[in-house]
């Protein structure tokens, strides 16, 4: 069912933007979808604004540090997609569970990580959220299972977390995210099947940012209607650039799960400004004009800002103050991330096994005997 009316906020206007992200909710095997109206309180608005701005500035700082070769290896940035992470968290609680793939810095933050420990992990320091052992793709917090490097593998893992929720009877659910590139993975369809058979409390979320690395959705997928790909699983597709759309869709999905109906699938239409990773300029498979158009017409932070301003929910000065505070937070974090020492060599072999006696680890030569501690 196609619902042409956009999601409206309670108080007056919503800003219209490019056809790129249509203002509607598409439904699959659902009689009704999320409500067409949503209430945004000033407090919520300011919180979402601050969090999205924090993610934005954190990612841009990571870009800078990467170009200075202070961050190395893989670095997949999330700028442009902030409304997804923030909106999803707005629809669940921290006692729910979430797992995603490698574009994970934003989620690490919304799931309780601090900018300091995220950045220090990117720079590989001992103060990093994984003590420098994981890096960009392997960050964890309570009820957040990373950060996963193998495309698609996180989806069955998320279903396993959901199985544990059902097994333990704790009324919690698991949000399992993947991209348009991962959406064709066989193990995801295996997971759709088992989640439905066993009625697991899982919300599948496809963050469709139009490109799987350098391959557009038209070139990778025989069907680009990712919200329908769950077949027998009810699905909905919403504007992933609008934090309220994302939040309301997530709340709707969470209710569906918690009522014992089993899995549900959400497709969020979103966009990444950066290339796939820091080694991808991101302009060989898409035009600069396209990127610029999304930035000017559909930027999630600008959209929220305009909404709040035009509805007198905040003043320009207030939002500027938040910007300044965020900038400072990022600067402090970057300072920490560049000055904190690297992990001690003693840590090389630690954390192989949990709750185990220390044991010997072979080093690079037969005479190098190292020790592993839990």
């Amino acid at each position: 069912t196609l619902l042409p009316s956009p999601l409206l906020i309670m108080v007056a206007s919503s800003r219209s933007y490019a056809d790129f992200t249509p203002e509607k909710v598409d439904l699959h095997r659902l009689e009704e979808g999320p409500p067409l109206t949503a209430t945004l309180t000033r407090e919520e608005g300011l919180k979402y604004y601050r969090t999205m701005q924090t993610i934005r500035r954190m990612e841009l700082k990571a870009d800078q540090l990467y170009k200075q070769k202070i961050i190395r290896g893989f670095c997949h940035l999330y700028d442009g997609q902030e409304a997804c992470a923030v909106g999803i968290e707005g629809g669940i609680t921290l006692s729910d569970h979430l797992i995603t793939a490698y574009r994970a810095h934003g989620y690490t933050l919304t799931r309780g990580g601090t900018v300091r420990e995220i950045m220090a992990e990117l720079t590989g320091r001992r103060g990093g959220i994984a003590k420098g052992k994981g890096g960009s793709m392997h960050m964890y917090t309570k009820n957040f299972y990373g950060g996963n490097g193998i495309v698609g593998a996180q989806v069955p893992l998320g279903a396993g977390v959901a199985l544990a929720c059902k097994y333990l009877g704790n009324d919690q659910l698991c949000v399992s995210l993947y991209g348009d590139g991962a959406a064709n993975q066989g193990q995801i369809f295996e997971t759709y099947n088992m989640s439905s058979l066993w009625k697991l409390p899982i919300i599948f979320i496809c963050e469709n940012n139009q490109y799987g690395m350098g391959t557009s959705v038209e070139r990778s997928s025989a069907s680009t209607e990712y919200y329908k790909r769950g077949d027998y699983i009810p699905g909905l597709r919403v504007d992933g650039m609008d934090v309220l759309c994302v939040r309301e869709a997530t709340k709707f999905a969470a209710d569906h799960c918690r009522s014992g109906k089993g899995p549900i699938l959400m497709e969020l239409q979103t966009y990444r400004y950066h290339g796939h990773s820091m080694s991808d300029p991101g302009v060989s498979y898409r035009t600069r004009e396209e990127i610029q158009e999304v930035r000017s017409k559909s930027d999630p932070i600008s959209m929220l800002k305009d909404r709040m301003l035009s509805n007198n929910m905040a003043s320009i000065e207030e939002l500027k103050e938040i910007d300044i505070a965020v900038r400072k937070e990022i600067e402090d974090a970057a300072q920490f991330a560049t000055t904190d020492p690297e992990p001690p060599l003693d840590d090389l072999c630690s954390h192989i096994f949990a709750n185990d006696q220390p044991f010997e680890v072979r080093g690079a030569t037969p005479w190098t005997k190292l020790t592993s501690t839990s």
């Binding site: 420098g132 893992l157 279903a159 199985l163 544990a164 097994y167 954390h351 096994f353």
Partner: protein, 342 residues
């Protein structure tokens, strides 16, 4: 049940085959800890493809004994995710050959996570199932995965031989807070062994990482795992008639390898032959020989250490060919005599 007089003390021995030992171990651990559950193909209503989980579904029900569709990658991932979230899954692969469909979840999601998370995320999971050659099941169903999984840090890999091994190691594996690859052997399932009352205690565990000397000897060390341990003992009996006393070491654990027990034995006998069902290249025997080379036992060797292995071919079907694809007792005897220059 059999009563035996040992040194004027009456000891009760119970005949338990490997299948029942595994079954009882799982039953007891399911009862002991509510977080333990079993999933895999046919484990519930079919009582297990090889009947290892017989009776468990009837006793514990759908919640704890879960039949899965034939989707290894998916259900292995689900099992690992459940371990992330605090449960203690036993994930059965109908045979370890099918684990190749899911190997990414075993290695990248299970084995490496505790390290990548710097200790924030333990993964208390057991992957189990029959490994190695069977009888007449041909190439795709006969591979030994001890070397493949034994290669990877973050995993514990065990390979029981007899019922005591099976029972004790499975209990240890289930109680371990880390990912354990548990390599059973289909041809051993029906083989009975005598177990003492001590072994049948509910808290009996065989420590992971400790080999067992099954037979003491002075002339040569035979190191083996799984079904081949039995062949080594048979070879040792034959050789004893010719005055050659073999020491037979049952590895029990592939990773971590109990190098100390192997070295102590080699330093005593001065000769080493490893015996395994898997292929020779980059295998368990190769690792044992390398370790002996690199350690103090080398100086005690009176001859090069050699390996007896499966033949370096995909497993054929015809019985005569299959019989000649796996190490036989005569191969062990031949190798011992060669190493001893007899």
């Amino acid at each position: 049940k059999v009563q035996v007089w040992i040194l004027s003390e009456c000891v009760s021995l119970f005949q338990v085959n490997v299948r029942d030992a595994l079954n009882q171990a799982m039953d007891e651990e399911l009862e002991r800890d509510e977080r333990v559950f079993l999933l895999g193909e046919e484990v519930a209503q079919y009582d297990g493809a090889y009947k290892v989980s017989r009776g468990l579904w009837k006793k514990y029900g759908d919640k704890r004994i879960i039949d899965t569709p034939i989707t290894e990658m998916g259900f292995a991932g689900i099992a690992v995710g459940a371990a992330f979230a605090g449960l203690r899954p036993i994930c059965e692969f109908m045979t370890w050959n099918f684990s190749m469909q899911a190997i990414d979840q075993v290695i990248n999601s299970a084995a490496k996570t505790y390290y990548m998370s710097a200790g924030a995320q333990p993964v208390p999971i057991v992957f189990r199932g029959p490994n190695g050659s069977s009888a007449g099941v041909a190439a795709q169903h006969s591979q030994c995965f001890a070397a493949w999984y034994g290669h990877c840090p973050g995993l514990k890999v065990v390979s029981p031989w007899n019922s005591e091994d099976a029972r004790g190691l499975l209990k240890a594996a289930i109680r371990d807070d880390n990912p354990v690859v548990f390599l059973e052997n289909e041809l051993m399932y029906g083989v009975p062994f005598d177990l003492s009352e001590d072994v049948l205690q509910k808290d009996f565990v065989v420590p992971i990482g400790k080999a067992k000397v099954e037979r003491r000897g002075t002339h040569i060390t035979l190191v083996s795992h799984s079904r081949c341990v039995g062949f080594c003992l048979d070879a040792a009996s034959v050789l004893a008639k010719e005055g050659v006393e073999c020491e037979v070491v049952n590895l029990r654990t592939i990773r971590p390898l109990d190098v100390d027990t192997i070295e102590a034995s080699v330093m005593k006998t001065g000769h080493l032959v490893t015996v395994e069902g898997g292929w020779p290249q980059y295998g368990v025997g190769a690792e044992i020989c390398a370790r002996v080379m690199e350690g103090p036992a080398f100086n005690y060797l009176d001859a090069p250490a050699v390996r007896v292995t499966g033949v370096d071919i995909p497993m054929p079907y015809a019985k005569i060919l299959e019989d000649h694809s796996v190490p036989q007792i005569k191969d062990i005897i031949f190798s011992v005599k060669k190493v001893l220059n007899m």
